[in-house]
C-alpha cells in the first residue's frame, strides 16, 4: 500500500492530477455512487410520502423554515469546505451569538441597527478566524473549535441567564409573515443562496477560492493571494450564517445560545449530502440547496414519526460517514 501518503489537515501536496487522470479516476466509481444516491433519494421520498401528514400545509411550511435555517448555515459552510478547510465548528455558536447581538442592538438602536450590528458581528468574528487560517495557515479545525469555546464563554459572561428578550413592545410581526404564501425565511434563504452562487461562479474571488481549495500550493505558485481568498470565504460564511440567527431571534422575539445548537453538524451534513467534496476545490451552492432539502425532509419526517430530536445527531453522523466513505474513493483529504 503505497498510496495513503497524502498529508492530511495542514498541508497539501503539489501533485495536481492531470485532466485525463482525474477523469479516469472519477469515471468508474461515480457510477455506483450515482446508483446509491438515487436509491437513497427514492427510499427517503417513499418514507416521506408514506408518513401521515407529511403533505399537509403545516408540515410543508415547517419543512420550508427548517430548510431555510439549515440552508443559510450550510451555504456559509459550503464556502469554507470549497476553500479546502473542511468545516467550521463555530458556525452553530455564531448563529446563537448573532441572534443575541441582533436583539441587544435592536433593543438599543432599533431594528435596522440590530440588523447591521448582527451582520457586522458575524462577518468580523468569522473573518478573524479566516485571517488566522489563511494568513498564518493555522489549523482550521483547531481555530474553529477555539472560536466555539470563546463564543460560548463570552456569551455566558454577557447573558448570565441564557436568554435575552426583545424590549417590551417591540414585535417583529411584519417579518414573520409570508410572501405569496411562502415563509419570509425561505425567501431570505433563496436570496442568500443566489448571492453565494453568484460569488462562486461569476467573480474572481470565486475562481480563486476553487483554485485554493483544489491545490493550495499551486494557487500560491500562480500568484493567487491565498490568504485573501480564505479570509473572504470565512467572511462571507459569517454573512450567510448571520441571517439564520437574526431570523431565529425575530421568530421567538428573544435570543439564546441554544438557538444555534447543532446547526454546524446539520450544515456539514447538508454540504456533504449535496455532493460538495470534503477535501475542497469542488462543490456548488445548488448542491448544498439540494442537501439542505434532504436534511430538512429527514428532520420533518423524524418529528412526524414521533422520534425525538436527539436522533438528529445520530442520523447526521450516519449520513456523514456514509457520504464520506462513498466520496471519491482513492483520494485522501
Amino acid at each position: 500500500m503505497s498510496q495513503s501518503a497524502e498529508p492530511p489537515l495542514t498541508d497539501r501536496t503539489l501533485a495536481v492530477p492531470a485532466q485525463g487522470q482525474m477523469a479516469a479516476r472519477a469515471g468508474e466509481p461515480r457510477n455506483y455512487v450515482g446508483i446509491v444516491r438515487a436509491a437513497v433519494l427514492v427510499i427517503l421520498a417513499a418514507v416521506a410520502l408514506t408518513t401521515p401528514g407529511f403533505l399537509s400545509q403545516p408540515s410543508i411550511l415547517s419543512l420550508l423554515t427548517t430548510v431555510s435555517f439549515i440552508g443559510c448555515v450550510a451555504v456559509g459552510m459550503t464556502l469554507i469546505t470549497i476553500s479546502g478547510n473542511i468545516m467550521s465548528f463555530a458556525l452553530g455558536a455564531l448563529v446563537g451569538a448573532t441572534a443575541m447581538v441582533f436583539v441587544l442592538a435592536a433593543n438599543w438602536g432599533g431594528f435596522a441597527f440590530g440588523l447591521v450590528a448582527g451582520l457586522a458581528f458575524a462577518a468580523a468574528t468569522n473573518a478573524l478566524q479566516g485571517f488566522l487560517i489563511g494568513w498564518l495557515r493555522a489549523n482550521p479545525i483547531i481555530v474553529s473549535i477555539a472560536a466555539l469555546a470563546l463564543i460560548y464563554g463570552v456569551a455566558e459572561a454577557f447573558a448570565a441567564h441564557g436568554t435575552i428578550y426583545a424590549a417590551a413592545g417591540t414585535s417583529y410581526a411584519g417579518f414573520k409573515g409570508k410572501v405569496a404564501g411562502i415563509p419570509v425565511e425561505f425567501v431570505v434563504f433563496l436570496c442568500v443562496a443566489a448571492v453565494a452562487q453568484f460569488l462562486l461562479s461569476l467573480t474572481t474571488f470565486g475562481r480563486n477560492l476553487f483554485l485554493v481549495g483544489s491545490s493550495f500550493r499551486a494557487a500560491e505558485a500562480i500568484g493567487v493571494r491565498t490568504w485573501r481568498a480564505i479570509t473572504g470565504a470565512y467572511l462571507w460564511a459569517g454573512l450567510f450564517t448571520a441571517p439564520a440567527g437574526i431570523m431565529l431571534a425575530i421568530r421567538y422575539d428573544a435570543a439564546s445560545m441554544n438557538y444555534g445548537l447543532g446547526y454546524e453538524y446539520d450544515a456539514i451534513a447538508a454540504v456533504l449530502v449535496g455532493g460538495t467534496v470534503i477535501k475542497g476545490g469542488e462543490g456548488s451552492v445548488l448542491r448544498t440547496l439540494a442537501g439542505a432539502i434532504v436534511i430538512g425532509v429527514i428532520q420533518v419526517v423524524l418529528v412526524l414519526q414521533g422520534l425525538r430530536t436527539e436522533w438528529q445527531y445520530l442520523i447526521a453522523g450516519l449520513i456523514v460517514l456514509g457520504v464520506i466513505a462513498l466520496q471519491t474513493p482513492g483520494t485522501r483529504d
Binding site: M1, R137, E310, L321, I324
Partner: protein
C-alpha cells in the same frame, strides 16, 4: 540552562511553573492548598487520557475528533451495563471504545480517507447514540459504592481515577520511550512515505493508535460517569478544547512528528492547575471557558505553518 530552555520538551514544564506562580501571586492563601492539588489531579484524570489519545493521533499527522463522542457514549454504556457489576459496565465501555477506534482507523487506512472526515462521522454517531440513550438528560447511576470509591482520596491528593490516568501515561511513556513503536510513530508523523519505505508497518500502527485513542476516551468517560454517579452527553467544547490545547502545549505539533506522552501529561497538568486555580480563587465558570478557548487559539497560532514566514516578512518590512 540554555540547552534546557531550547529543548521543546521542556516548554510544558515552564508553562506549568508559570501557571502555579501566577495563580499563587493572585491569591496564595486559597490557591496553595491540598484541596487545589487534589482538584487539579481530578481534572487531570478527566481530560488527561483524552489528550493522550488525541495527542498520539496528532503525532502521526491525523486528528481524532471522535474522542468527545466516545467519551459521552462510553459513560452511557458503563452506566447502563454496569448497574449490578461495575466492572462489566467498564469492560463493555472499553470494548466499545477500542472496537470503534479500530474501525475508524481501518476505514482511514483501507479506504484512504481523511481522518477528520471519518472521525467527524464517528463523533456524530457516538454522540448521537449518547443523546438517544440518555434522551438528553442525566442518566443516574445507582451503585453509589462505586461512585464514592472512585473519588475517595488515596494518599491525600490522589484518587483511583487519577491513579489510573497516571498509570496509563506511565505505560505509554515507557512503550514509546523504550520500544521501536516510539520511533515508528515519529517516523510516520514526519514522513509517511519514508517510514513505509523504511519498513514501518504504517497501516497497523495507524489503526492501533486510533484504537488506543478510542480506548483512552472510553476509559476516562466511563470512570467520570461512575464517579459523578450519572451519565450525560458532553458538549464538544467541554473536553476537546482542553485536550487539544494540552497536547499542543505539551509539545505535539499538528504537523506531526513531534511530542511525547510526558510532554502531553505536563500540558494537561498546567491546564488542570489553571482550572483548579480559577475555582480556588472563586472565578465564575465562564472565565475557565474563555481562558481555555484563548489558550487553544494562541497555541493554534504558535503552531501555524506560516508563522515564522509571516513574522520574517513583517520584520523585513520594518527595516
Amino acid at each position: 540552562m540554555k540547552r534546557l530552555r531550547d529543548d521543546p520538551h521542556m516548554r510544558p514544564l515552564f508553562i506549568l511553573a508559570a501557571c502555579v506562580v501566577g495563580l499563587a501571586l493572585v491569591d496564595a492563601r486559597d490557591f496553595l492548598t491540598v484541596a487545589t492539588a487534589a482538584s487539579s489531579l481530578e481534572t487531570f484524570a478527566t481530560i488527561g487520557l483524552v489528550a493522550l489519545g488525541l495527542g498520539l493521533t496528532m503525532m502521526i499527522r491525523e486528528f481524532d475528533l471522535s474522542v468527545v463522542g466516545m467519551y459521552s457514549m462510553a459513560g452511557c454504556i458503563a452506566v447502563v451495563m454496569g448497574g449490578t457489576y461495575a466492572w462489566l459496565g467498564l469492560a463493555c465501555a472499553l470494548a466499545a471504545g477500542l472496537a470503534a477506534g479500530l474501525a475508524q482507523g481501518w476505514l482511514i487506512v483501507r479506504l484512504r480517507l481523511g481522518s477528520v472526515g471519518v472521525t467527524l462521522g464517528g463523533l456524530l454517531v457516538f454522540a448521537g447514540i449518547a443523546y438517544v440513550v440518555t434522551e438528553n438528560r442525566a442518566l443516574p447511576y445507582e451503585n453509589m459504592e462505586v461512585a464514592l470509591g472512585l473519588s475517595a482520596p488515596v494518599g491525600g491528593i490522589f484518587s483511583v481515577r487519577s491513579i489510573v490516568a497516571i498509570a496509563i501515561f506511565a505505560a505509554a511513556a515507557l512503550v514509546i520511550g523504550l520500544t521501536r513503536y516510539g520511533r515508528d510513530i515519529i517516523a510516520i508523523g514526519s514522513d509517511r512515505r519514508a517510514a513505509m519505505t523504511a519498513g514501518v508497518n504504517v497501516d497497523a500502527l495507524v489503526i492501533g493508535i486510533f484504537g488506543f485513542s478510542g480506548f483512552c476516551a472510553a476509559l476516562s468517560g466511563a470512570l467520570l460517569s461512575y464517579s459523578l454517579a450519572s451519565a450525560s452527553p458532553a458538549g464538544l467544547s467541554d473536553v476537546i478544547v482542553p485536550a487539544a490545547a494540552a497536547a499542543i502545549l505539551g509539545g505535539v505539533s499538528l504537523a506531526g512528528g513531534t511530542g511525547r506522552p510526558l510532554g502531553i501529561a505536563m500540558g494537561v497538568l498546567s491546564l488542570a492547575v489553571l482550572r483548579a486555580g480559577f475555582n480556588a480563587v472563586g472565578a465564575p465558570p465562564y472565565v475557565n471557558e474563555v481562558a481555555m478557548g484563548t489558550i487553544l487559539l494562541l497555541v493554534a497560532v504558535l503552531d501555524s505553518t506560516y508563522l515564522a514566514r509571516r513574522v520574517q516578512g513583517l520584520v523585513r518590512r520594518v527595516h
